[in-house]
């Protein structure tokens, strides 16, 4: 399966399995989503389970919170992560706090899917990576898969989770893995082992990272598209890096990070999002707090620049393999 098919399969499985699951968003129903992620679901499960919604992100998340309070398990799609901002109040002030402020009287078991990330000439409002705006919010979980297999297992786990989950989908990975080499032809998922996805129900645990590539010299903390960029950077730099795919950004798998950094004694953090106060800053702080006496070099971070995401200068902005490889070499020199 491609990541699109895997995500669709996850929703199909959960619609079948749990009568309280409903799927809705802009263009999600009849048309099957602008990325085809919900294609066929309305025909299979009916309009009262899978339906189109008005163009109102605040409305989408607001009704989802109300449905969650009733006892449903809504799976909402925000068409692009760049467009979640109108729903900020409902996400931060409501979904994230419902359980806490009501002492468990009401809960918000909702999943908000958002295609995110750049590398597609999406310009300013089709490329952003707003994960740090969610990881800072107490009460929500932020998840981002990098493969079809993970996408399905993590989405099913997110839908089943009783906490609100922001499920970020790197749209650059929808049809195939992408290592940052825009000049080379895209390889479809069918050539990648992680496209082997079981048809039925399975889950992957949240708060569990995966070792995408074992290594000895340096730990790379990455997620989404950057997992493949880091793999390419390893090949180009010759540095035997261990690549950790976080999968769950927050709450995260701290033991996996600490174990790896204590082994390699070096760390590079990579994300597409802008640098200042980005999620990388939290990762740097955690590694510094937990691995200080094991570190042999300053922790590096390779990120998007502190600018809005540009159109023409896409590849000068996108943290590609050359920039990651340079960082890997730098930490090895110290």
């Amino acid at each position: 399966m491609t990541m699109i098919q895997a995500l669709r399969s996850a929703m199909d499985v959960m619609l079948e399995r749990d009568p309280n699951v409903v799927v809705f968003g802009e263009d999600v129903g009849y048309f099957g989503g602008v990325f085809r992620c919900t294609e066929g679901l309305q025909a299979r499960h009916g309009r009262s389970r899978v339906f189109d919604a008005p163009i109102s992100e605040g409305g989408l998340v607001g009704v989802a919170v109300g449905m969650g309070a009733y006892g449903l398990r809504p799976v909402v799609e925000v068409q692009f992560a760049d467009y979640f901002y109108p729903a900020s109040d409902q996400i931060v002030s409501e979904a994230a706090r419902l359980r806490y402020r009501s002492a468990g009287d009401f809960t918000a078991p909702i999943t908000i899917r958002m295609p995110c990330g750049g590398g597609i000439y999406g310009g300013q409002t089709h490329s952003q990576s707003p994960e740090a705006l969610f990881t800072h919010v107490c009460g929500i979980r932020t998840v981002m898969p990098s493969t079809p297999y993970d996408a399905k297992g993590l989405l099913i786990a997110s839908i089943e989770c009783d906490d609100p989950v922001i499920f970020l989908e790197p749209k650059r990975l929808y049809n195939g893995p992408f290592d940052g080499h825009a000049d080379q032809p895209v390889v479809p998922w069918s050539k990648h082992p992680a496209s082997e996805v079981p048809e039925g129900y399975y889950t992957l645990p949240l708060e569990t990272a995966a070792v995408a590539r074992p290594g000895r010299d340096v730990t790379v903390l990455a997620y989404g598209t950057m997992v493949f960029v880091a793999e390419a950077a390893v090949a180009e730099s010759g540095v035997d890096a261990e690549i950790i795919d976080l999968r769950s950004l927050w709450p995260l798998d701290l033991p996996a990070i600490v174990e790896s950094v204590k082994k390699t004694r070096r760390c590079v953090v990579v994300h597409e999002a802008t640098r200042t106060s980005g999620f990388g800053a939290e990762l740097l702080a955690l590694v510094q707090e937990h691995c200080f006496y094991h570190l042999e070099a300053p922790i590096e971070r390779v990120t998007g620049w502190d600018t809005p995401y540009p159109h023409a200068l896409e590849w000068a902005y996108f943290p590609g393999p050359a920039r990651v490889a340079a960082a890997l070499r730098r930490v090895m020199e110290d």
Binding site: V22, G59, G66, Y70, T107
Partner: protein
Amino acid sequence: MKRPREPLRLHVPEPSGRPGQHTDFSYLHLFPAGAARLPPIDVAPADTADLSDALVRVLDDDGRAVGPWAPAAEPALLRRGLVAMLRTRAFDARMLTAQRQKKISFYMQCLGEEAIATAHALALEPGDMCFPTYRQQGLLLARDDIPMAELMCQLMSNERDPMKGRQLPVMYSYKRAGFFTISGNLATQFIQAVGWGMASAIKGDTKIASGWIGDGATAEADFHTALTFAHVYRAPVILNVVNNQWAISSFQAIAGGEATTFAARGVGCGIASLRVDGNDFLAVLAASRWAAERARSNLGPTLIEWVTYRAGAHSTSDDPSRYRPADDWEHFPLGDPIERLKRHLVALGAWSDEEHERTRKALEAEVAAAQKEAECHGTLLDGHIPPLESMFEDVYAAMPQHLRDQMRQAREAEAARRAGREET
């Protein structure tokens, strides 16, 4: 040829009455009791345009119930309603005093608005869900299954606070009573109510939702999303706009009420809409029943603008004498909801001045006893607050490791803080 033009001028609405002046209430656009027609519950939303600009009233100036909206209501039910309003007012008065005595940190009364929530509560059925603001305590105080002392424990953030001291006073949550957890963020609950109603429809249930918002908060985006979604999905929901003329210091004109009504917004969005005398218990009961029946019959949402007046200060942190006439409520043409229902019941021979006084005193005693009971479990003054560990619970369904770590750190910091205090 260019014509010389006057410079453009920005229009900033102002209330007619400021401190030391008298409010001209003619802007309210009032109608006599009995004048508004009663449409069938399957009325087309567009055919309620006249009602969104009229005023549904039942009680006339002599306390008689007149016109097509006069509800079939036994005197016993109305007596219950009057007691619920008196109970709400007694509770508010006592809690206002408790705030001044620093037994609670904050309070918000609903003085003058008691009819709306208490009569509405009588029109709903068990299992329906209200999405209230912070000024619908009448929904809870109209019930006899919620101990008053429990509400006060929330206000005191004490050891028995069902919200575990996490919420500001008045931000109650009572799922079992169909009372959704109150948020400090205005308007958010209005669209959530629509979602709850949609969920009930998705499951083929028969329960309905009732969303609440004030006049000022209608300017928030969630007001508009709620109307759109309620209309699009024909959600079984009552959308209540309590127009008490004031949003803290802002007159309702600054929210967009000048030369229009909030009910008219509903019609514009394709929702059947009513404008109702919010100080007329019988009108509130009748309109609420009408809207509930409409929603429960799959006929879709109803928007109701309740015209009332915020008689008290916005909150215990507010001094209304700085922005409006001190005697404004005395001149508000729709009067006091308690006095009006009392007059009706007395005229029916179902109530008397003596019974009124006796009931008022009994309720004051009930409130005082409840306060005594609540204070047994602590107040802000004496530090009997929920345990430190409870601060970290319920952020997530299960406590993640980082919160377990922080809980341990907080315990150590708190122990050190207490030790330091004991030394000095």
